[in-house]
């Protein structure tokens, strides 16, 4: 691989300075002239018919400029797919969770808006509600949506091979149930939206988002406006983690209000609203049955998964499938039967989450260790035995074009001192491993690809136009770094216009782990195209063939005779005069099977490529209190190629916090019926600086044939394998399996007490 000046180096991100000085403005920081402030009236009932909404008194309150209810919403329903359209973002007939939006007010200030809410009179007919998904599936349970019998929102059946026969032939079969409570993103930036409407019918929206195009399309459908009239702008976003992807009631309501009021409308949610009325992660009950051969090869897998989806479908079909797909992306599964059920309950809406499926992956990972123990194998060994390799095809038909899983497992084991620790540390201390693959760039129809453009200024600088979205991962910097590398320019000489649904070409967004692989590839292609155009024009000026030329530091020069050169600015000017202005363009669509569908046809190439990772967690269990402390984490991630190693490390470290210490040990929502007891940041326990282990990130580079410079993705590493690693480490430390997440101290203590009684 050729030496790179930029790509592959740890560089300072382009947005760090603005963020370090307070200049970076997030949605709640924005103001527009004559801006109004909006607040939402929410349902106090988990399930109720809306009989009447009387807003007359609110409308008469001085300072109130617009009030909207379901009557203003035209009854349009949204769903991520055509067959899941079940969500009226401002309902007219029924509310289905406590905290659902019923009406909204835009007024001159927040106090007036809040006062107006008190004046809105809503008549409800309270209906029986159901909160547990298993109960919701039973006959006689309250029906939440007319179309969903037994409240089943989505059923994803996936079957490969001959599962029943494989179980008969298996040497050993293990069955377990694992359970999960809900958890959530809890991004530090609360939800906010600013909407503005002009007399030409243009709607502008600023809201923290993972894909402006997704938001724009949904709004275009809901408001029955062409996409050209719905402009979702780029804005600094304070973390997403999967919780800013689909369209939310907030954007829809703000749009309705601004259209009605004729003035810009800003709505900032409280932390409570951000936790109850946007999205959360699913809770799950997973039944796993796994059959293996005597040498530890996985032969048969039967998985039943029941997800608590909350009141609406959200990204349901995707959310149901992903846990299984991640599993089949990791190990060879010749025979597998998966039945995933997403069930409606009268709870807030659940969606995609980066650490999606802790009961699932934690469970599968722990079960592997249990099986290994039964067979007398080391957990590392059983993983290596089953780990997929480059060139292999996954259970549902995806080919793997680059795979560093084996290397990742081996390196994580070696660097963590696995051999000297597993089974050998004093009682109370232990190590455990987790591993998984991760899809990069999955089928999203027309939205699965990205395109980018580069335009040049006559003094040699340029602007990259890309739909890439940055929620803090460093994606903006990444595309600039790539373009700068190709063009031999300094990063600061390349501007970026990004994530604007009006201006930037369609892009999949920070979704399906695709920013580097797809957006990065598109940016690279555009830069290569621009470079070619530049060299072609310069070849006339330098009397050399384009192949003899190089571009670096704002100069085009003859490689063998660098003193024969021309300033890039001059080339740009010549191009302008010749009427062939330099405009680079490039695009990338991951090579997926476009016939593949999440529910109806879950077969075929699922993703452009896959990244892989393995992590070893070392824990100390206080056997008197049950408290688990993660002391060290060693993790190896096959990210393909690290475009900016410092950014990749940052992602890996962040994963350890959110997927590891947080999601595995601390984070859960407690409920009383349909009410969340801990919808605040004191009682919803996000890990703090003092809760973190020492982290050793290891970058494994397999140089993917498709990825830009071989890069794939970085960020989902710890998120899904930390659950396994910690659960397994707890077993190594104190000999108990905790099958319920999060692994809180009371559960560990109870398990230890049961173990003592049993022995």
């Amino acid at each position: 691989m050729a030496e790179h000046e930029l790509v592959g180096q740890s560089v300072v991100r382009i947005d760090s300075l603005a963020k370090a000085t307070g200049e970076a403005r997030y949605t709640a920081d924005l103001t527009l002239p004559r801006m109004l402030h909006a607040k939402v009236l929410r349902s106090p009932h988990a399930h109720a018919r809306i009989l009447n909404v009387d807003t007359s008194k609110a409308e008469r309150l001085s300072g109130v400029k617009a009030v909207v209810t379901g009557q203003d919403a035209a009854g349009v329903k949204w769903g991520v797919f055509r067959y899941t359209r079940d969500h009226e973002l401002l309902p007219a007939e029924k509310v289905r969770y406590i905290g659902e939006d019923v009406a909204a007010v835009a007024a001159v200030d927040e106090e007036t808006a809040l006062e107006a809410l008190e004046l809105i009179e809503v008549e409800y007919e309270v209906l029986p509600a159901v909160f547990d998904p298993l109960e919701a599936m039973m006959d006689g349970a309250p029906q939440i949506h007319d179309h969903a019998e037994n409240n089943v929102n989505i059923h994803v059946p996936i079957e490969v091979g001959d599962v029943d026969r494989a179980f008969e032939e298996a040497y050993y079969v293990k069955e377990d149930r694992f359970v999960d409570r809900e958890y959530t993103y809890c991004q530090t930036e609360p939800y906010a939206v600013l909407a503005s409407y002009d007399s030409n019918g243009n709607l502008e929206i600023w809201t923290p988002n993972a894909s402006p195009h997704t938001k724009a399309k949904a709004l275009s459908n809901l408001l029955e406006k062409p996409l050209s009239k719905v402009k979702v702008r780029r804005v600094y976003t304070g973390g997403a983690f999967g919780g800013r992807s689909d369209i939310f009631p907030g954007e829809f309501i703000a749009a309705l209000l601004t259209m009605k009021a004729g003035q810009p409308v800003k709505m900032v949610y409280t932390r409570e609203e951000s936790l109850t009325s946007v999205r959360q992660a699913h809770s799950m009950v997973v039944d796993l049955k796994t059959g293996v051969a005597k040498d530890g090869r996985l032969l048969a897998s039967e998985i039943k998964l029941v997800l608590d989806g909350g009141a609406y479908s959200s990204t349901g079909p995707i959310a149901v499938s992903v846990p299984f797909l991640v599993w089949e992306e990791t190990y060879r599964l010749p025979n597998a039967r998966f039945n995933g059920y997403r069930v409606y309950t009268n709870k807030p809406v659940r969606g995609m989450y980066r650490c999606h499926g802790r009961a699932f992956h934690g469970g599968l990972g722990m079960q592997l260790d249990m099986i290994a123990q039964e067979l007398g194998m080391d957990p590392v060994e059983i993983r290596l035995r089953n780990a997929l390799k480059t060139g292999e095809v996954q259970a549902t038909g995806s080919k793997i074009i680059s795979c560093g899983l084996t290397e990742a497992i081996e390196q994580a084991a070696e660097r963590s001192g696995w051999k000297d620790k597993r089974g050998k540390l004093p009682y109370g201390k232990g190590v455990g491993m987790g591993a998984n693959g991760m899809m990069v760039g999955f089928p999203m129809g027309i939205r699965g690809g990205s395109a980018a453009m580069l335009k040049f200024n006559e003094d040699g600088g340029c602007t990259l136009i890309s739909g890439v979205v940055d929620n803090g991962q460093g994606n903006e910097s990444m595309v600039v770094q790539i373009a700068a590398d190709v063009l031999g320019m300094k990063m600061e000489d390349i501007n970026l216009v990004s994530a604007d649904s009006e201006v930037t070409p369609l892009d999949q967004g920070a979704y399906s782990q695709a920013a580097t692989f797809v957006s990065g590839n598109a940016a690279r292609a555009a830069a290569i195209d621009a470079r070619e155009q530049i060299l072609n024009i310069a070849s006339d000026m330098l009397d050399a063939t384009p192949g003899e030329l190089d571009l670096n530091n704002g100069q085009v020069f003859v490689r063998q005779r660098p003193e024969w050169n021309v300033w890039l600015g001059k080339v740009i000017r010549k191009a302008l005069l010749d009427n062939t202005p330099v405009v680079g363009r490039g695009s990338y669509m991951p090579k997926v099977d476009l016939r593949r569908e999440w529910v109806s046809n879950p077969k075929g190439q699922h993703a452009g490529t896959f990244s892989f990772g393995a992590v070893v967690a070392e824990v100390e269990v206080d056997t008197e209190t049950g408290q688990v402390k993660v002391t060290k984490v060693t993790g190896a991630h096959d990210c393909g190629f690290a475009i900016n190693p410092m950014s990749v490390e940052g992602q890996l470290e962040g994963s350890v916090a959110s997927g590891g210490v947080g999601a595995t040990l601390l984070e859960e929502h407690s409920w009383d019926g349909g009410q969340m007891l801990n919808a605040n940041m004191l009682e919803y326990k996000v890990p703090l600086s003092v809760d973190m282990p020492q982290i050793t990130p290891i970058i494994v580079e397999t140089v993917d044939p498709e990825g830009p410079f071989g890069a794939k993705e970085a960020g989902l590493w710890g998120s899904m394998n930390m659950f396994q690693a910690i659960g397994n480490a707890v077993y190594d430390a104190v000999g108990v399996w905790i099958r319920e997440f999060p692994i809180t101290p009371d559960k560990v203590l109870k398990a230890l007490e049961e173990k003592d009684r049993g022995s």
């Binding site: 740890s10 300072v12 991100r13 947005d15 760090s16 300075l17 603005a18 963020k19 370090a20 000085t21 307070g22 200049e23 970076a24 403005r25 997030y26 709640a28 920081d29 103001t31 993103y185 809890c186 991004q187 530090t188 930036e189 609360p190 600094y236 976003t237 304070g238 973390g239 983690f241 900032v268 409280t270 932390r271 929620n471 803090g472 991962q473 460093g474 410092m646 950014s647 490390e649 940052g650 470290e653 962040g654 994963s655 350890v656 916090a657 959110s658 605040n680 940041m681 004191l682 996000v686 703090l688 600086s689 003092v690 973190m692 982290i695």
Partner: protein
Amino acid sequence: MDKRLVQLRVNGEQYDVVVSPNETLVEVLRERLELTGTKMGCGEGACGTCTVLLDGKPIRSCLTLAVEVQGKEIVTIEGLAEDGQLHPVQKAFIEHGAIQCGFCSPAMILTGKALLDENPHPTEAEVRQAISGVVCRCTGYAKIVEAIMAAADSLQGEGKHNGRT
């Protein structure tokens, strides 16, 4: 409610603002003075993104009444750089990749600066303890701690002990 004229000293400048007693410092900073670098993440003192320095100490501006801080030195993130020169803690955050989404960064940077003003040679444990009241969801805190330790080194290297602004 009687509104009151208060004189606030923010980032070395005096601001005369008419406020109601029920306005918190974070609201006045963000909405009246348009210093939006200080964030409102929860309004309950649980997340730390509203952190400002009050007479050199990090506090929760969402739990501080504006009328009660007249005559005190308030420093927000916008006031850290001097004459266009970034504070070493800001520089270190940028150079060490300690900023991802950036929402907690003003609070982390101010807290780091306040720590180093008081304790120029903190151990890693002391750094972690000092920032334990600010939530970060992106970084896992690793590079934030690294940056503050590096800033401590660079401050010592310069032989200069940055006093209170």
